[in-house]
Symmetry: C2
């Protein structure tokens, strides 16, 4: 059987997963492809540590550039991570016309335009399926399966760390910090968790999904980002009482030629598909004009699931090489346009608002008057008999309202004497 | 922009959806592909009826063979349905080396081996994404995204009619026949519903999924098929009390080189992803050795969702033609093997058993003695205080047991004097 040479940059957890996957299923992959992918070289600064897989020491090198330049390496797998040296490696491979498979969402979110342009110029492939959703073939679905659709919205649970923490906060009713510490102890959260819990990892992925859906480039700065650090389990409990789960969602919606891209905690119906995604799992709900809602669910991280998608991409690249069809699918659809972003202030959605109100006559009237002035109408309200220092928590669920109006109303409400502490505002999706 | 000519065989509901999709999104599809797909001819025996879409009468013909042979038609879309004349059309197109896109699961389940072999011989494409799961790109996921995985199991809700009926039976607690009549009135079930409710449509799809997962050909006769016609809403209610939903599942599992393929009503945990699939929606849960569980959800039927997948396939074919990479992906992985099927008698799973027992001493002992003799152990039992004619319904949930043993035990149990009417046996998945 014809062989095709792979070079692996980065021998960390996912790199070891790719090696393990090739060792376990390489023959199967070969029989499905008609071409056998063979790992020819692995480069990492550390080639001494035990990764739990046995590899021929002769293929290990600390010289990434030599790996890229090696004629025996026909496909470069970039699993170094980060936006520094990884960028140089990817550009070096593409400049030689070598196809690249990467899982590096940060690199593509920050430097996608440059990288994709070089791939196009050199008519070679860059595949990045594992950069969003780990083991879930969501990028493939968007780029190929749903190609005939206008994408109307994408709503994704894209960070397993956050979903694990939120699931535990709801299940055990314990505070964020406790759940974060537990997640860290279990290896579900990094020691430095900000990238995950403050929503930036999700935002990187949202940028890629929006680019795929709308065919332009999106700057990270156009994404509204709010993480889960300040979420109270009180609100998660109230949300549950109202029939919702709280999830960190990436929301991408297109309307009137403008696209909104936002990442924030959201209430989703508990019985919906997104509401049924627990623990470290991810899911992406895509609404296309022809297909309606479709959802893709699976493990969003982990060595083996990520390796599954990396190797799925390798298979595509191998098929393209075998049939001389490189750059058969452009990395990002060639719209050439810059996506027009809807400012967060113009977004309309439904809201969950929690206020701490003095339990005295006229207070509710004052609140509803302010909401009404800003054209915010209520679909329900929930008063909790759990006074804290003579303040009572009151939860309002609104109909669709404009973010700017809600901002203004909350500012006015916060200034009232009858209101203790800052109002809590969560957005409701679906 | 370069154009590529499409010919549409069959101008029914899905055919009209394809025409509508091309009219609405043809320009978008063209910009994503770099090639514009143009509908050159439509063939149907009836070219008079109004399908709610406007087409140039000059492209309509009653002569399907002329359409296939027309040099202006470069891709043939087969939406005639059935296994008779549709087979001749597909073979005629492939014989000329023309790629075919079809949604015809019955045709491929019955004649896939012959059709796929001709496509391979002629090195042309046959795509059939819409034959399973309607608007859900599940075939693409199995064939491409999960390619690096050994598929360990597939569990699918693949028939929207059945899922709608089961959802309604649970929601309203009404009998099967009432729900079927409602579904028929709403257009969710055919006037002749057997193909759907007796499980054959699901079995056709299971055959295709098993072929894709294991790379051989599967005969329809190797599939164990049991429909939902005899399901009682009593059991759906008891299942709910036990924390389960009842779904018509296709179950495909591989173990020790043997594959089991079975279609029957199954209990799935209510809070699982499959348990959260309501109404006409479909979903497929795939377990791969690398990726673990992934799930794909969406509308399993309907003109627009099906057209979405048909046009996604057309896009693939167009890309293959544009890059001279026809037959880039074989229709079915080339294992050449015939899949070894595990006989239903050797399947092991957990069971839900409902018996109508005389409410008198010693009865439960007699039952459990029979179960024990057949190595069937119980995880729980539920006795309902709802005697009917002095018989009491008792529900047993078993641990893993072998189908043959359960058959034998139920036969013995049914023969006891203390047992009224035939025992009900449902299988539990997950």
């Amino acid at each position: 059987m014809k062989e095709i040479g792979l070079g692996l940059l980065g021998f960390g957890m996912v790199g070891a997963g790719v090696v393990r996957g090739l060792q376990a299923n390489g023959e199967l992959i070969g029989s499905r492809l008609g071409v056998r992918p063979v790992l020819r070289r692995i480069a990492d600064l550390d080639i001494e540590s035990d990764r739990g897989v046995t590899v021929d020491p002769a293929i290990l090198t600390t010289d990434a550039n030599a790996l890229i330049d090696d004629p025996a390496v026909e496909v470069v797998i970039e699993l170094v991570g980060g936006t520094g040296i990884a960028k140089a490696f990817v550009l070096r491979a593409l400049a030689q016309g070598k196809p690249v498979v990467t899982a590096n969402k940060a690199l593509l979110a920050d430097h996608g335009a440059e990288i994709f342009a070089l791939a196009r110029e050199k008519q070679t492939d860059i595949y990045f399926g594992a950069s969003v959703g780990g083991g879930i073939p969501i990028i493939r679905a968007l780029r190929e399966g749903l190609l005939a659709n206008r994408i109307q919205s994408i709503r994704g649970i894209l960070n397993g760390t956050c979903n694990y923490i939120l699931t535990e906060m709801e299940r055990a009713g314990v505070p964020f910090n406790t759940c974060l510490a537990d997640a860290q102890a279990l290896g579900f959260a990094e020691a430095e968790p900000s990238l995950d819990i403050d929503g930036f990892d999700t935002a990187h992925k949202a940028v890629l999904l929006a680019s795929l859906a709308y065919g332009g480039t999106v700057a990270m700065e156009s994404v509204y980002v709010e993480g889960i650090r300040n979420l109270s389990s009180l609100d998660i409990g109230y949300a549950r009482d109202l029939g919702y789960k709280v999830k960190l969602l990436a929301v991408i919606r297109s309307d009137d030629g403008a696209v909104e891209i936002r990442v924030h905690p959201s209430l989703v119906p508990a019985k919906s598909m997104l509401g049924s995604v627990h623990g470290v799992f991810n899911a992406v709900l895509v609404n296309g004009d022809l297909t309606g809602d479709t959802l893709y669910y699976g493990r969003g991280a982990g060595a083996d699931p990520t390796a599954s998608t990396v190797l799925g991409d390798v298979a595509d690249v191998v098929r393209n090489l075998a049939s001389a069809a490189a750059h058969r699918i452009p990395a990002i659809p060639d719209s050439g346009d810059v996506i027009r972003i809807r400012p967060m202030q113009d977004v309309t959605t439904r809201y969950y608002l929690r206020l701490s109100l003095k339990d005295e006559p006229g207070v509710l009237g004052a609140i509803t008057a302010i909401l009404g002035k800003h054209r915010i109408s209520l679909s329900s309200a929930l008063q909790k008999d759990e006074p804290e220092n003579s303040y009572v928590p009151v939860v309002f669920v609104t109909h669709e309202a404009r973010e700017a109006e809600v901002d203004a109303a909350l500012q006015e409400i916060a200034a009232l004497d009858c209101v203790a502490c800052a109002p809590v505002r969560l957005r409701i999706e679906g």
